[in-house]
């Protein structure tokens, strides 16, 4: 005799288990992974005490640098498939090339090249958590310094 209520409970429970297991261990397929790369270009300076409210989500991270004001200059995101790369143009004639390398264990390895015109300024490979970010800063800009926040999120 069928026990639909009990079977439904079991089906729901095991579906939940499977779903969470898949989410935890990640549905990593390095070559087919699409990663959304998002950058925020920020002007940090001591010219005033203004804090751009659009940066509220990363306020604590920015204040590590102990500048008095922070202003969001631009925010841009791109979906990158596999190991392709994406180029973001930055203020001051600069550009940032980001190329996701591999995604594993809920982390993304990003190869990041900062250029001024065609001249390489910084090359780095950073491994960060899915949805996490890191800060890259220092190039001078408009009386302050340019600070970049770079995120990577699996799609």
């Amino acid at each position: 005799m069928k026990r639909p209520a009990r079977m439904l409970k079991k089906a729901l429970l095991f579906s939940a288990l499977f779903f969470l297991a898949a989410a935890y261990f990640g549905l990593d397929a390095a070559s087919a992974q699409t990663v959304q790369v998002k950058i925020g270009a920020i002007l940090a300076s001591n010219q005033n005490d203004d804090f751009d409210s659009r940066l509220a989500g990363i306020e604590k991270q920015l204040k590590v640098m102990k500048y008095r004001s922070y202003k969001l200059l631009k925010e841009e995101s791109e979906n990158v498939q596999g190991q392709a790369n994406v180029t973001f143009s930055l203020p001051g004639g600069r550009s940032l090339v980001v190329s996701p390398q591999e995604s594993k264990n809920n982390q993304h390895a990003l190869k990041v090249n900062l250029k001024e015109g065609d001249k390489p300024v910084l090359d780095t490979t950073v491994r960060l958590n899915n949805g996490g970010n890191f800060i890259l800063g220092g190039p001078p800009h408009e009386g302050g310094v340019l600070v970049l926040s770079i995120w990577a999120t699996a799609q």
């Binding site: 989410a23 780095t124 491994r127 890259l136 302050g144 699996a154």
Partner: protein, 176 residues
């Protein structure tokens, strides 16, 4: 009209007098006209008779000794450990355990996969590892701030200066 399998599932309830009148009447009509269900009914009746006979009457038990046993329990002081052990035993009895185990697994996976569903929200786990770095001759600093778990890569200005003109304030760089 229901098939015989469905009818026979309700035979026991019919013989126990638990069906509604309309259903009981429909059952009777079907069984009267169906040899297979009539046979099933007879087997069930035999089983019921055998079970009643197998359960021999308990015989009367004297009340006074029984009440004495209950009263003794009421009057003795049980330690809290006995009560706790009883409660714990009922919690870990097999049927509860059968559901407790997958429930604990689901809970643990939910905790560990929190970041999957709310990526970036949990600043507490904003770990980033710098695997390689080349500043092309410039000074670079790498630091992690513990409270926000923020990784910062800081490029210092080249003192020989082929960067754009800077203000006095910017030259100082950040004070971490």
């Amino acid at each position: 009209m229901k098939n015989c399998e469905s009818i026979q599932e309700s035979l026991g309830a019919w013989l126990d007098g638990e069906l509604k009148q309309a259903d009981a009447e429909a059952m009777r009509l079907h069984v009267d006209g169906c040899p297979a269900c009539t046979d099933a009914q007879k087997k069930l009746l035999k089983l019921n008779v055998a079970m009643k006979a197998a359960h021999a009457p308990a015989g009367e038990i004297a009340f006074e000794p029984f009440w004495l046993g209950v009263r003794t329990r009421i009057e003795e002081k049980r330690s809290w450990t006995t009560d706790w052990a009883e409660w714990l035993r009922s919690m870990i009895a097999p049927p509860s355990l059968a559901w407790a185990v997958p429930a604990v697994i689901v809970l643990l996976l939910a905790i560990f996969s929190y970041d999957n569903f709310l990526p970036g929200r949990g600043q507490r786990n904003n770990f980033a590892a710098v695997e390689s770095i080349d500043a092309h001759g410039r000074s670079v600093a790498l630091l992690r701030e513990d409270e926000t778990k923020t990784t910062v890569i800081w490029l210092y200005q080249n003192p020989e200066g082929d960067n754009e003109a800077t203000s006095e304030n910017a030259k100082k760089g950040p004070t971490f």
